[in-house]
Symmetry: C2
Subunit: 419 residues, 2 copies
């Protein structure tokens, strides 16, 4: 087999996700077992996703990986754990057309090439590691004919990056913390698919930041070690919220969904602040966006928009429907207009058909925007140009899929090297 | 008596204070009874204080008050509670020189004029109500010959503004929450006077803010009603910290003092963030100052500076000694230089003799400052001009005193009206 020259490969796409009940704190650093359950919404992979091609060939002399075109080391324990677990579950593979036959026991001897690409900036703090590890595990499982359901795969992806386990499903996903020491019951399950609640529209404000951020890995370690509020949150607060959030999602109860999403985001950031030294992920722009949304929700009497922030200043805003999203975008662009040399189509990306509905597809749209009526002069009325880098419009989306179109593969089918 | 024309008056000065274990949350809104004990440092009244003149005369037709030169209403329950409590404890007063004799029972019929002035901007968020109510109660007690010790007076001042009770003493002060329903045991006591630990130097950065802040009264009410972390803090965290802080103060243990002060400030702000809607008192400038201090403390191995923030973005920085304070001020001025048209003596106020020690009394001092060695380019190296309005240099200070010099009185001794 070692002299053969074939390359066998699979390309897959996996979504990113945003937690609405947050994961913050591990009870086991090695196995990545959390201190509480969490719930997320999967984001539409059309706008935010990772594409990964995994290839195997007897010609490969070692495991190699390229992330966004640059070769990176696979020696870290997170990659090694995922590779080991997947290899241990590999099955027989046969491609009659190409005359390839790999038996279960061959996988231990074969080397892999992996190429991965995010369709959004890695540095933007948009859970790239979640989509990345989920896509690695999903594509390898397909390549190696691993006969496991997505929940079992999620327990493997979890060992690469905790939140990656939630990217194995579309729609609304719960990561159950589990209780077993080996982590085998710390898996993700789908609560509802993306069609269950398809009114929702998501707008992400990618916020500019001067400050270098604490990584979520070291941040949550420091919180576990020093915050006197974290355990109380994990044991007393989150379990009730998880039940309430499951109900809210089941019933498409936007008021409860918003109340839980916002308070849980704020409590996660409160625990960060209660850490020693304190961790600040949100900045003044994040705070201004929260004030904007809170004021609007109060003026409407019933919540229109939920907000949530991960380990960075970016705001993820979930509007109850398309009409609300149009108004939201108008308000956001009024307060955070693009710099004068920025084209609107590059300032609002993703599903930017919403720009037309907002009457903002023309050049002069933003300048004619009126301040939202509920906002008097409480929030500084001066322009906050440059505070937001850009907006991404998206929605709840589907889970991982295999991309059968070979033109989407990131590795050359002959050489197994990046295209 | 009603036809007599005499005016009898007393002028007093009362310090402000900064909590190092924070008060946040009332268990009784009317009596102002807190959910936990708190500990504060009294600030030197030479730099931050309230001066109040209280006058009584049979010629006054109603109670009146002027705050910083402007007449204000006394009808609020906070003023009424203080006036009622003090009047109820009034004694006989006799001024033989002026031929004035007021008997205990006369006080109910006599009206008061009160003039109060802060020697710092009220809007700067520097606990002006604490000094103000403490000074009101202290000066009235002197005027009316109230025979009560400062702890008893503190229980009256508490009903004007919770933290005011701690301004009845100099040095280091504990406000015991008490357990009685009538609040009679919710009083302040002195832990140590200002001479006990006179190495400490305090630098306050008055931070510019665009955002209108939530008042502490409504903020703490909302926290009590909505934060799921507040009760845990009050019941489980603070009691231990109070004991540790008392030990740290007793032993002048700066490392413990700093650790407790910083973590408690951060936890108070964490509870604010856990409130619904969330309350943000600190802004990006506050965060930058914290990062600066945390980095410095870590690089030195042992804490040099403690920070604490009240219900606003201003940083109160406590340096372990004068030498450290000089270095701290140099670092602060490097990162937050004055605007080019600002004179250094108006940018660093209070005890600005420290400017000379820092080599910054000349015009070109700031431009020649070098970045602190422990700070590489982690914190944005560009100038943060305008982010800090000014600095106040001060130290732990003494409690309330009567000012006998009539030129310091704020009311005219003939008319009883503001000078």
């Amino acid at each position: 087999m070692a002299t053969e020259k074939w390359v066998f490969m699979v390309t897959a796409q996996t979504p990113t996700n945003i937690a609405v009940i947050k994961y913050w704190g591990k009870r086991d650093e090695v196995r990545i077992l959390p201190v509480n359950d969490s719930i997320s919404v999967t984001l539409d992979p059309d706008h935010l996703c990772t594409v990964t091609t995994v290839a195997v060939s007897p010609a490969f002399d070692r495991d190699r990986m390229w992330l966004n075109g640059k070769e990176i080391s696979l020696s870290g324990s997170r990659y090694q754990n995922c590779l080991r677990e997947i290899r241990g579950r590999a099955g027989d593979v046969e491609d009659m057309e190409k005359g390839i036959k790999i038996r279960k026991k061959d996988w231990e001897k074969l080397n892999l090439h992996i190429a991965s690409h995010n369709n959004f900036p890695t540095a933007a703090g948009l859970a790239s590691s979640a989509a990345g590890f989920a896509c690695l595990v999903f594509s390898l499982a397909k390549l190696m004919n691993v006969d496991e359901d997505p929940s079992h795969l999620s327990a493997i992806a979890r060992q690469g990056s905790g939140s990656a386990c939630r990217s194995l499903f579309g729609g609304f996903v719960k990561w159950t913390m589990g209780s077993k020491e080996d982590g085998s019951d710390s898996v993700a399950v789908q609560l509802a698919d993306e069609k269950h609640w398809d009114d929702l529209v998501i707008i992400i404000a990618v916020v500019s930041s001067r400050q270098k951020e604490t990584s979520s890995t070291s941040g949550m370690r420091e919180s576990v070690e020093t915050s006197l509020l974290l355990q109380h949150r994990a044991k007393e607060v989150v379990p009730k919220r998880i039940l309430q959030m499951e109900e809210a999602i089941k019933n498409r109860d936007f008021a409860s969904f918003t109340q839980l999403t916002c308070t849980d985001s704020n409590q996660f950031h409160a625990v960060c602040l209660d850490t020693s030294p304190p961790i600040f992920y949100m900045n003044d722009t994040s705070h201004r966006i929260i004030s904007l949304v809170e004021k609007w929700n109060r003026s409407e009497g019933t919540p229109q928009v939920a907000y949530t922030f991960d380990a960075g200043p970016n705001a993820v805003l979930i509007a109850r429907n398309r009409k609300v999203a149009v108004q939201l975008l108008q308000g956001l662009l009024y307060y955070f207009p693009p710099k004068s040399d920025t084209d609107m189509k590059s300032y609002v990306v993703g599903d930017n058909s919403i720009l037309k509905e907002a009457g903002l597809d023309g050049a002069s749209g933003v300048e004619n925007l009126q301040p939202p009526p509920e906002i008097k002069d409480n929030i500084g009325s001066q322009d906050q140009k440059g505070e937001v880098s850009y907006f991404i419009c998206t929605r709840p989306g589907k889970g991982p899929i295999v991309l059968h179109d070979q033109t989407q593969a990131l590795l050359d089918p002959e050489t197994g090297l990046p295209k």
